[in-house]
Symmetry: C2
Subunit: 131 residues, 2 copies
DNA sequence: AAGAACCATGAGAACGATTGTCAAGACGAG
DNA sequence: CTCGTCTTGACAATCGTTCTCATGGTTCTT
């Protein structure tokens, strides 16, 4: 009963995610792999990232230009991010008050199956220093 | 000193936005125009929608599948939306507490030029009734 | 009303991110 | 090692959106 296999490519993608501090796109990750001499197909990068997202080991969010960014996820809990627009570095933040507010607003208006997205973007201290 | 002109196409796009209750994609709006016999090029729809967004007369947000949705904007104030995943209908919501929380979290972490995105998705009463 | 100036339009090409296809390759249980 | 099955990768295809540029429509000025 084989299910999920341990391949070189899967390990490589996971390794890159471990080393990156912030969010990065699939193509950026593919680029990093290339620079290291790790040959991994772009489709494979996409597939493995998606698998990691499904396994809730990686967070994904959509940047302003619409491309999806990935980052290793610390907590398995529901949380949001404070992301640097410039370097991608991110801080995981939790806002219990926001959670309950969102739910309240939704139910008050008769909505069910409620979900929400919340991201905070800014320029981190390091990036604003190196102007 | 000519600047912004009053064309048939611009009026048509604006009219559709007035009649739609919820968020709709550029292509959906283009489709509606087609059904009414209003010939408007897809590029033109995109251009006019973007112009309306820049003029802050229309709200834009990105749906889960990544496509941009547009909707006539009531207030000029900063606000967020409670959107029906199924029909696009939306309620404008304001959350002063969320605003200040987001700013606080960001400054505490040394981030500047702070912005945020927040959308609540769910199924509206009408849509969950017609299952 | 007529002309000039120039913004707007549309058809299609171009784009960039992501997904699908499918034959060939790699993995791991037995 | 062998076999069944999961994965991979090169490339085509899709999808939303933007770009190009020749043509058409508006508005301002006489
Ligand atoms: Zn930064
Ligand atoms: Zn939340
Ligand atoms: Zn609905
Ligand atoms: Zn806000």
């Amino acid at each position: 009963m084989v299910d999920i296999r341990n391949t070189r490519q899967r390990r490589a993608v996971s390794a890159v995610l471990d080393e990156l501090e912030g969010f990065a796109s699939a193509q950026q990750i593919h680029g990093v792999l290339g620079q290291r001499g790790e040959k991994v197909g772009l489709s494979t990068v996409y597939r493995n990232l998606q698998a990691l997202v499904d396994a809730e080991q990686v967070d994904a969010l959509r940047g302003n230009d619409g491309e999806v960014l990935y980052r290793r996820c610390e907590a398995g809990e529901h949380h949001h991010h404070l992301v640097c627009r410039s370097c991608g570095r991110a801080v995981e933040v939790a806002g219990p008050a926001v959670e309950s507010w969102a739910t309240k607003v939704a139910t008050e208006n008769g909505f069910t199956d409620v979900e929400h997205t919340l991201e905070i973007f800014g320029t981190c201290a390091d990036c604003s220093a190196s102007t």
